[in-house]
Amino acid sequence: MEKKIAVYICSGCGIGDALDIDALSKVASKEYKADICKSDAFLCGKNGLELIKKDIAEEGVNTVVVAGCSSRVNTDVFNFGSDKIVERVNLREQVAWSHTGDDEDTQMLAEDYVRMSLAKLKNLNIPEPFIGENLSSTVLVIGGGFTGLTAALESARAGYKTVLVEKEAVLGGYVGKMYKQVPMKPPFTELEENSIPALIKAAEDAGVKVYTSAVIAKTAGGPGMFDVTIAQNGTDIEERVGAIVLATGAKPYEPEKLGHLGFGKYGNVITQSMFEEMVAAGKMEANKVAFIQCAGSRDQEHLPYCSAACCIESIKQALYVKEKNEEANVYVYYKDIRSNGQYEHFYKRAQQEGVIFIKGDVTDISESDGQLTIEADDHTMGTKSEADEFDLVVLANGMVPTAALGDLVEQEAEEEAAAASDEPKATVPPVVKSNLLNLEYRQGPELPALKYGFPDSHYICFPYETRRTGIYAAGVVRAPMDMLSAVEDATGAALKAIQCIESTIKGEAVHPRSGDMSFPEFNMNRCTQCKRCTEECPFGAINEDAKGNPLPNPTRCRRCGTCMGACPERIISFKNYSVPMIGNMVKAVEVPEEADEKPRILIFACENDAIPALDMAGINHIQYNPWVRIIPVRCLGSLNLVWVNDAMAKGFDGVMLLGCKHGDDYQCHFMKGSELAEIRLSKISETLNRLGLESERVRATTVNIMDYDKIPAMLDDFAAELEELGPNPMKDFQ
């Protein structure tokens, strides 16, 4: 496309007072030969927009550069259709509002930003969406328990063809075997009838296609085009589905490991699920029952996490005993009663019914004449305690996600890793061969396990979302939870699956870059088959073909650009985001000579948290260092080291990477972008030394959106350190 570029400079919102608009116009029209350059005092107003639209209609402008507010605001206002490129120059939040007005340095900053944007346009093109062939909008739900049935029902009711696969012969799962279930509606004090039969009927009525006694033998493809092989009674059935909800639930923790609580030793020490079956069968006769909470959960020796539902289930079971015999003695030994949310009312109800709650650790269980004695440390009273003549002891043995059951998949690339062992590597999450999805993905057959084997991806921003696009985990396979949360989870995951299907049909990315039409393009004839892109893609979007070349699956891609940052040959680029594009931006900055004593610091800032934080600083009119030049990146994972090289060669005195927090409680929206960036950065000292530079000139820092007030000090500290190092010796050689 032949670009006809028009630059519109807004002088409203204080920009006109802080900057010399005429000088800015000269940069655009004289230096960069923009076809049209105009300014307006209120560009987002009626007249301002009219001005732009008139030029588009009459002059054939197809590339609009709006120099004014941040690209995070007014996106709807400055949208001139999908066939026009719109580029935003942030003169408001990042210049006029955060730097001294009417000042030489501020003016230079604004001019550099205009240059950078115009330089970026040189290689930028309108993305053409990838539309897969024969796309399916069927939702596949794996697991026919409470969560799976709810998810299937919700997606069927939303008008999507739904397929449900259950490995047992009957639907219902764990909840299906229950005598009664915990309250699901106000006042949250009454036991409810088991809802599974009603759910099964509703799902059937809604037209859900059910496969029982069936497992997923193979999952290939990507969102919109998953080809799933369902193995049922020795026959294989092929289904093409658009998105998958994984609701395979959890298994009770193995009680055999709880010998210290008497399981296996005494016949009347049983587990929650055994008690449930006993009551459902009408065989429960006990009148003095003890429930022991956290039997396995919150125990470093067993399950380190809270299983979240056992407290409420035990309260429910205690009420079974009271329901049968009001005079029965029921004791609950607990660490903390975790009756989240509205279930506090349920806990109170049990107390009112006379269930005795003892905060204490059980130290010993002994038996005589078929009756049990429990010794414990009563923490409320600070004494030892003893209670005897129990007919029955019920252990709340917690839950283990089905995704964590199985052997670890051996990391295939071990030889390669050995060869490159001196290089630091990003931590690869383990994949457990749990036989739930059997993915045909290069990165392993199942979802990567995060903490404690749960396959969640981003606890804060995207629950349900896993690290495999289009596959959404819901219910207790994702995280331990009670039934009320499971309903929410099932519904949420069904909606996410639908959103994924709809986005894929339009060729758009799912979140966080929702609506992004771009996707990575590979210049294969220069590929060296180093496999870094296939290894580092956080979403397993890149497989490998028979010849060992990367085989991208565009519908799995979330457009973070991690592959682009990883590629040493720089053969991966997006139509609107590429290595040369950012390189041009770096090179477009005018770096003053050493004698001018105007240092320059280049900042690569993540668009998810760092850029909003910088904008927040501007909105709050917090002033920061005028030597910085900020380049937004999709994720620090897309940072290609050549940019740092370019910056150093250009004469920048320092480079700073602003990314998200990484580690166990990471904040990165693309899982490990900032971690990867830091790892890549650790390799750069060699490059810097080759240039005769100190590696301290480049640094990575983590910020989150709330750190906006700390950013000025961060920048000033870095500037002060750079001053000590002295100016970049490359400065005057460009």
Binding site: I337, K348, Q351, I356, T383, S385
Partner: protein, 198 residues
């Protein structure tokens, strides 16, 4: 906070006493105490109590009758109601404390001076419909014995000053009109007190 109470080495849960307390007018509210400790940190007289209200409730749950009944906790409750407004579970602690006082008196655990004062005040008001300081004092000493009188002689300056300022009348006031009806009211209230307030 240092625990001023004396706890048994090992406890066994005895539900008989607990059930007896639960059957008091407001006793069943004790069941819904979740041991958060809000009452304890709110209590103005917590420092001189044997057990904080929370611990007292827990002792009831354990069935420690002697410890509960011999505790000074409910006698030191000033009915300031701070715990009551703060209790997240809505336990009416002040009413529970009143119930415990009555239960203690009825069961012969009235050794605390406050118990004698309660009895003296009540006898005076029930008999006359009004309080008479002289009568209350006399009854109090009657309940507590001669030793207490000698102890209180040290306070005679205060007594004389109060007399001078007519704050301690020597003669009892007139009874309220229609004392018979008041007694009926009291009788009815006694009947109802056995039933739960809820």
């Amino acid at each position: 906070m240092e625990q001023t109470n004396k706890l048994p080495e090992k406890v066994k849960y005895d539900l008989k006493f607990a059930r007896e307390i639960y059957s008091l007018e407001n006793g069943s509210y004790i069941k819904q105490c979740m041991q958060c400790g809000m009452c304890a940190i709110s209590c103005a007289t917590r420092d001189i109590m044997d057990y904080s209200p929370r611990r007292l409730f827990n002792l009831i749950k354990l069935g420690k009758k002697d410890e509960v009944m011999q505790a000074n906790t409910f006698w030191y409750c000033t009915s300031c109601c701070t715990c009551l407004v703060r209790c997240p579970r809505g336990v009416p602690l002040v009413d529970v404390m009143h119930d415990l006082k009555k239960y203690a008196l009825d069961n012969g655990y009235g050794d605390y001076p406050q118990a004698a004062f309660y009895k003296a005040f009540w006898a005076e008001v029930a008999g006359r419909g009004k309080s008479f300081e002289g009568g209350i004092t006399a009854r109090y000493f009657l309940f507590r014995g001669l030793d207490e009188v000698l102890k209180y002689m040290a306070l005679r300056d205060v007594g004389i000053n109060m007399l001078k300022h007519r704050r301690l009348p020597l003669l009892p006031p007139k009874k309220v009109k229609d004392l018979g009806n008041l007694k009926k009211i009291i009788r009815k209230a006694r009947e109802l007190s056995g039933k739960e307030a809820r």
